[in-house]
Symmetry: C2
Subunit: 333 residues, 2 copies
């Protein structure tokens, strides 16, 4: 039976992936401290508490406008710690390198990774390399684990979310997804399309001072729609997204041309935050004062328990945003 | 030019790998706390100190007599912490899963990983899965990062090694290497050959109480000969291995048949320790009193500065053990 084998849809951030993780990984490994996917979790060490997260990277092509697999691996890991309310301190790096990869390309990627780590203030403390046979590798896969320290202030958590809370996003969505897709497929459409991949530390840290901060997440695989579904699965509340989701014109054009919904496209340098309604404007003002947040927007609100994930359309209607099942998009991260 | 591309020899634990790591990874990422390869390194956190290590796993076949890629990933990571004088506490897990992998096999492997983690007293705290396209994966690659706490006692370090120190090994060498090779190639020779893969915590912790303990290492990729070369590169001292290296009969037979030198075969549940000569017998007695160490042997001594790595033969001669350059063995870990 087809269901007995891994399919690409098991990796797209949607329902199949969640089921695989629940039925295989969580079932065997489950425990209070397991977080298979997503943001960082606390670990007790030497009487103190640290935060830890891990992420794998398989992006194709390895280099794309605005980044590469090296800088992406740093930003992805740093951002998982940042949205959990931690300051990233250390990274470990695993490289699975395919026989035949050009060493000059590997060198560029590692240099870019090193620069991203320096810029984000994290140290690469330990590493390992494995070489896999030609045809068994995709050029280069990276896995990074990040360790950080919890910052003072709110401990953002999906459990804090309540009906009526506001959703905000720190900038335009889909830039990373579209930039990588175009770099891969070579549609001749690149122009000004660049990945948004970047550290979000400057965005997350100031929000921790707001009592009304509930939860933050970087909308990577599966985009904003998948963050909304995660909130729904974990909290039971519906999510009502608005037509105010910021999408840059060239991203919107490519989406219209190719039939993609920007709500499902990956970002790698954005934050979605859930904030108590009465502090939503303050949170937006904090973000808009930062260069990384000047396009921040309010993008919706938490609905009632039992409701679905919907997008309110400009004309006053609403459209159901389904959880990802099969790949709606080529795989990009 | 051939030298411009990654070759399998860049992954074999020998000279090419060391050069790649130095010239690409260390050059860009270098710093006091970087350890690309090998055992665990200290990281400062919340005012305390933790130890961290990371490792990638690409073994083929995914399951073999005595273990599988899941249990191996736990043992390999736990053992890197153990030989550094730490107690493993937490693991993160990255899985790169190839489209088409049988889910039942993945399930067996994750169950085995979970059991190995429980047995070793470590918690899998965070995880991530990526699915790669059919033909781009080798079935399953795992990357694990381990975090542990430093134990009281000696801080084993290659810097502590001095001329005249004794080398001891906790058990027979090459069992893992041969077991995996036979499982892969199907020579019809399996019989009683099983991997030695296991946690070595019970072996490393008691040795930390000996003032004369200098250094410990688990002889994985490249085997005992490669540990000897690492000692020589890092300390400048020669290493004189003796004909007393324990090799089980079936491993010896397969080596003779296929032309392999057991000194280069990977172990995944053994420890090589360098101990001051006057405490070598005590260290051996500690190990031999344990079920995991009852075949422990003295296997050589640290030579003079500037000497090479040699194996003293039973007839009183000596044989130079070269550093690995091209693969002398199929890749197994």
């Amino acid at each position: 039976m087809e269901d007995d084998y891994i399919a690409l849809a098991h990796g797209n951030g949607g329902r199949f992936m969640r089921e695989l993780i629940d039925e295989v990984f969580v079932r065997h490994l489950g425990g209070d401290e397991l977080d298979v996917e997503a943001d960082a979790v606390p670990i007790a060490l030497n009487g103190g508490e640290a935060m830890i997260t891990t992420d794998g990277f398989t992006v194709q092509p390895l280099e794309f406008p605005g980044g590469d697999i090296g800088s992406l691996s740093v930003h992805g890991t740093v951002n998982d710690l940042a949205v959990a309310g931690a300051r990233p301190r250390y990274l470990t790096l695993n490289a699975f390198i395919e026989e035949g990869l050009e060493i000059a390309q590997l060198d560029r990627i590692v240099a870019s990774l090193a620069k991203a780590a320096r810029d984000a203030g994290v140290k690469v403390s330990a590493g390992d390399t494995k070489v896999v046979r030609r045809g068994e590798g995709g050029g280069l896969y990276l896995a990074t684990t990040g360790v950080g320290e919890r910052l003072p202030g709110v401990k953002p958590s999906i459990d804090r979310i309540a009906e009526g809370d506001a959703l905000i996003v720190s900038g335009s969505v889909g830039d990373h997804g579209i930039a990588v897709m175009l770099a891969r497929e070579d549609f001749g459409l690149r122009g000004e399309l660049r990945s948004d991949a970047a550290s979000v530390m400057a965005l997350t840290e100031p929000l921790l001072a707001l009592d009304g901060l509930r939860f933050m997440r970087d909308p990577t695989r599966g985009g904003i729609a998948s963050v909304a579904h995660e909130i729904r699965w974990a909290s039971g509340f519906g999510v009502r997204l608005a037509a105010t989701i910021p999408v840059r014109d060239p991203v919107q054009s490519v989406c219209e041309m190719l039939g993609y919904d920007p709500c499902y496209l990956a970002c790698e340098g954005r934050v979605v935050a859930v904030v108590a309604e009465e502090q939503a404007d303050e949170a937006l003002a904090v973000w808009r004062a930062l260069p990384q947040g000047r396009n921040a927007e309010r993008i919706g609100r938490i609905g009632a328990a039992g409701e679905r994930v919907v997008l309110e359309t400009p004309l006053g209607g609403e459209r159901l945003l389904e959880a990802l099942e099969d790949d709606p998009l080529p795989r990009i991260c």
